[in-house]
Symmetry: C2
Subunit: 290 residues, 2 copies
């Protein structure tokens, strides 16, 4: 069992509800990483669609739109899923994640998403952006070499092997490029192969791109939509995040992922809040979005 | 009463349900335009959030993610809305549009969306893309000058005053630029002022950007997420659509809108199907997505 598969393990309680557990190892400060929540929600929704008779070919997540409602903590979690429509090329559903609060269940995330057959949908590529030019993983800055106090506050950093392009990592030494761009190679630290589902995790696994603009506060995701374009080949993923739309309270962040063959396999856009630091560092507890 | 406000008129049936009517004038072929459906759904959701006690300041649509489930026809429509979470800076809800079918109600669209105060959220702009260089509206190609057979098939063309940049309109005379880009000025034909809600309509009002790649088939929207960044100033809107990710069956299409002061006021990304033509022109009936 890999760490990622362990994190996505779900027990079906009844048709529409399944239960899992958010591990503390996926936290950034006090909050569980949003990419892991999206992968878990997508897993629950895919299981539900299959159980309700979606075509067997509709096994791949194609698009997911998630609204983050409150910060998730480590501990038990329930996923409640619903079939919205089963079509010829896509099966669409809805899923919510809940955790117990002092006054009853609290919704963490609600999402709509569609599943299909990425093999059939992606077979003939008419147009696809080429990957950016990035030094080899060996020439990049390894997350494993980050100072251990930071890694203690961001246990998520030990779940992935991230190699940041030194040209977009100046923020880590106080010299952000101000270009609003971050690039790096990424894979699971324990060697789990990448697949379509994991792309929804990797789309939101880099540090906030606002760091490259010198905005070092926390950037809680409010809304995130990811498109998966193809099943990734095995090996390193190349992730690029960028932003060109930032106000003092919200920003947009785009991400793209290419697989080891150089094919674009996923892209996303998110609306994130900006919490300017008051002594807050990336490792401090995530604020409650909204 | 303007045409757009008339199209968005809703009568509340009970707390969560309201009824309206899709006018034939908003059709592209047999299907009602997706942008109009999103504006209608957003209007219904905003009304519902306000009725349920959302802060008065949360009057602006900030983000909407819509999944298109089946093609909408002219005629009666019902909107069913639900409050998901009322937060400090955002109020979030869900909305579905239904029309009667032979076997009961058929869901046309389901969406999640958040409302907030764009005045407060957009007041301090830290980074925003400049508008592209486009000839004046008078130097562009007016939709009002399109051949009347085409306008008869696409009544939507008479609801807007669209002026396409001639450099991105080669497809109309059989010479697409192959750049995957389309730009133009747009406003309501009847002079209705633009506002935040109407941006969700204008984000999806241009011809499919695939036309500029020589792909002249129908491009039904499967999923659409729009971000509204600011209330637009009065006057012309400048819309740019582009794509760089196209397979033989799906494509991604991005759109951005600047207002008459040159500020970016909205941006969107959609996943659209590609239906390669079999004698089908943009004016023929929209296929059922999925």
């Amino acid at each position: 069992m890999t760490e990622f598969d362990d994190a996505l393990a779900l027990s079906v309680l009844d048709g529409g509800t399944s239960s899992g557990r958010l591990g503390g190892g996926w936290r950034i400060g006090g909050a569980v990483n949003g990419g892991l929540l999206m992968a878990l929600a997508t897993k629950a929704l895919g299981d539900r669609l299959a159980a309700e008779g979606a075509p067997q070919a509709h096994g791949d997540p194609v698009v997911l739109s998630a609204y983050f409602l409150s910060a998730a903590a480590k501990g038990p979690v329930e996923a409640v899923s619903e079939v919205v429509r089963m079509g010829r090329t896509l099966s669409t559903g809805e899923v919510s994640l809940f955790q117990d609060g002092p006054d009853g269940p609290v919704e963490r995330l609600r999402a709509l998403g569609s599943f299909g057959d990425l093999g059939a949908m992606g077979d003939t590529v008419l147009r696809s952006p080429a990957p950016p030019d990035v030094p080899s993983p060996e020439e990049c800055l390894a997350s494993a070499d980050a100072p251990s106090p930071l890694r203690g506050k961001v246990p998520l950093m030990d779940r992935v092997d991230l190699r940041l392009d030194p040209r977009t990592a100046g923020w880590a030494v106080g010299s952000p490029t101000q270009e609003g761009r971050m690039r790096g190679w990424i894979r699971f630290a324990d060697g789990r192969p990448v697949d379509a589902l994991s792309l929804l995790f990797f789309l939101d696994a880099l540090p906030p791109v606002a760091f490259d603009l010198g905005i070092l506060g926390w950037a809680p995701t409010l809304e995130f939509t990811g498109h998966v374009r193809a099943r990734p080949a095995d090996g390193w993923l190349l992730v690029e995040a960028s932003t060109d739309t930032v106000t003092a309270s919200v920003m947009e962040e785009d991400a793209r992922i290419w697989d080891s063959t150089g094919r674009l396999v996923a892209q996303s856009r998110q609306l994130a809040g900006i919490r300017l630091p008051e002594g807050a560092a990336p490792g401090s507890p995530g604020g409650t979005p909204g």
